[in-house]
């Protein structure tokens, strides 16, 4: 089953249908409903608020002009994400052509996101928050060519074909970039674990090498001791 579970709701479907019939007020409603998630994508792709603002403006203007071409048998979120990806690619290419340096990746802004379903267990929640921050930082260090592919493919679940179309690259290039991006992220996130495992061959030390896991393993041991007592 696909895990596209992004921007949903009957309200949105109604607004899309009305906007397709020419209701501009309905399109404003679409902007209101979808913009927080589209903005998160724009930030992930561009890495800073300044570029993300421009990409958002382009995305919604293009969506407004093309709303008549949207077919309701596909997901509206995928449709708007594809437009955002295309706008981001165009925007950053233009910046390169003007020989402007890309703005610094603003990890602080990227970290300021709202998680829809926070973990109820505080320990697990803090572990996942730390993992998430490390992931965000690792994504930030990727060049746009790799970051865009992994964000669109592995975060927003776009197919290789959709990514190739929107970024104007071949499907083979998508595959190669996705492979490279995942390997780099894997290296950044799990390097310590892998090194310890290779040098010792011990599964226990894998857990011990990760500070958070060490804490989790310790608390697990404590709980089992409490039970046995």
């Amino acid at each position: 089953m696909s895990h596209r579970r992004l921007i949903r709701g009957d309200g949105l479907n109604r607004a899309v249908a009305a906007a397709q019939a020419g209701d501009d007020q309905a399109f404003a409603e679409i902007v209101e409903k979808t913009s927080p998630k589209v903005y998160a994508l724009c930030l992930r792709l561009s890495g800073n608020e300044h570029d993300a603002r421009d990409i958002m403006q382009d995305t919604y203007l293009r969506a407004y002009r093309a709303i008549g071409t949207f077919r309701s048998d596909s997901s509206f979120s995928t449709w708007i994400y594809r437009i955002a990806a295309n706008c981001a690619s165009t925007h950053l290419q233009k910046r390169q052509h003007r020989n402007e340096r890309a703005l610094e990746f603003d990890v602080e802004t990227l970290g300021n996101v709202v998680t829809a379903s926070p973990d109820s267990d505080p320990e697990i929640a803090s572990e996942s928050t730390e993992d998430r921050e490390r992931l965000i930082a690792a994504l930030a260090r990727l060049p746009f060519s790799l970051r865009s592919v992994v964000v669109l493919g592995d975060v927003y679940d776009l197919s290789h074909e959709e990514i190739a179309t929107e970024l104007q690259i071949s499907r083979a290039a998508v595959k190669v970039r996705l492979h490279r991006a995942r390997k780099k992220l894997h290296e950044e996130l799990f390097a310590t674990e892998t090194r310890v495992r290779v040098s010792t061959g011990s599964a226990t030390l894998v857990a011990l090498s990760h500070p958070k896991r060490r804490g989790a393993a310790q608390s697990k041991r404590d709980k089992s001791e409490e039970k046995s007592a």
Partner: protein
């Protein structure tokens, strides 16, 4: 025959692609995974990575102040431009444009004709005046 380490290196390299189930792993890879704990651990790390990436999809971002108003304002301006363009290209627009053009042409002709006739009457009046002044 390749040693265990080089096989593991090949398998680990392939894991980054086959982990998402969009590409199918080879039988050799599956057979190796079945008996290699180290590669199994790598696979579980890649699965965790994909899970973490997928969880980012649930996140939304607070819009900076004024952004929503700017977006809606941009759409409103685009809507106005489209309305004007639609009016100019629609049949009703063409009628209105034709009527306006006709009115403009007629009024220009009237103005031209009016100024010409007044010039003629001026010329007709001048000799009489000069003759009468000469006497």
């Amino acid at each position: 025959m390749p040693n265990q380490r080089s096989v593991c290196a090949e398998v680990v390299n392939e894991l980054a692609l086959v982990v998402d189930k969009k590409s199918s792993p080879s039988r050799l890879l599956l057979a190796h995974l079945d008996q290699c704990l180290s590669c199994q651990a790598e696979l579980s790390q890649y699965r965790r990575l994909l899970r973490m990436l997928s969880e980012l999809q649930n996140e939304s971002e607070r819009l900076p102040e004024g952004m929503l108003a700017n977006l809606v304002g941009g759409i409103t301006r685009a809507a106005e431009r489209r309305a004007i363009r639609d009016l100019l290209t629609s049949r009703r627009g063409i009628y209105l444009f034709s009527i306006a053009a006709a009115v403009l042409i007629v009024s220009t002709l009237i103005a031209l004709f009016g100024s010409r006739s007044s010039r003629l009457s001026d010329r007709k009046g001048q000799p009489e005046e000069s003759m009468s002044s000469g006497c």
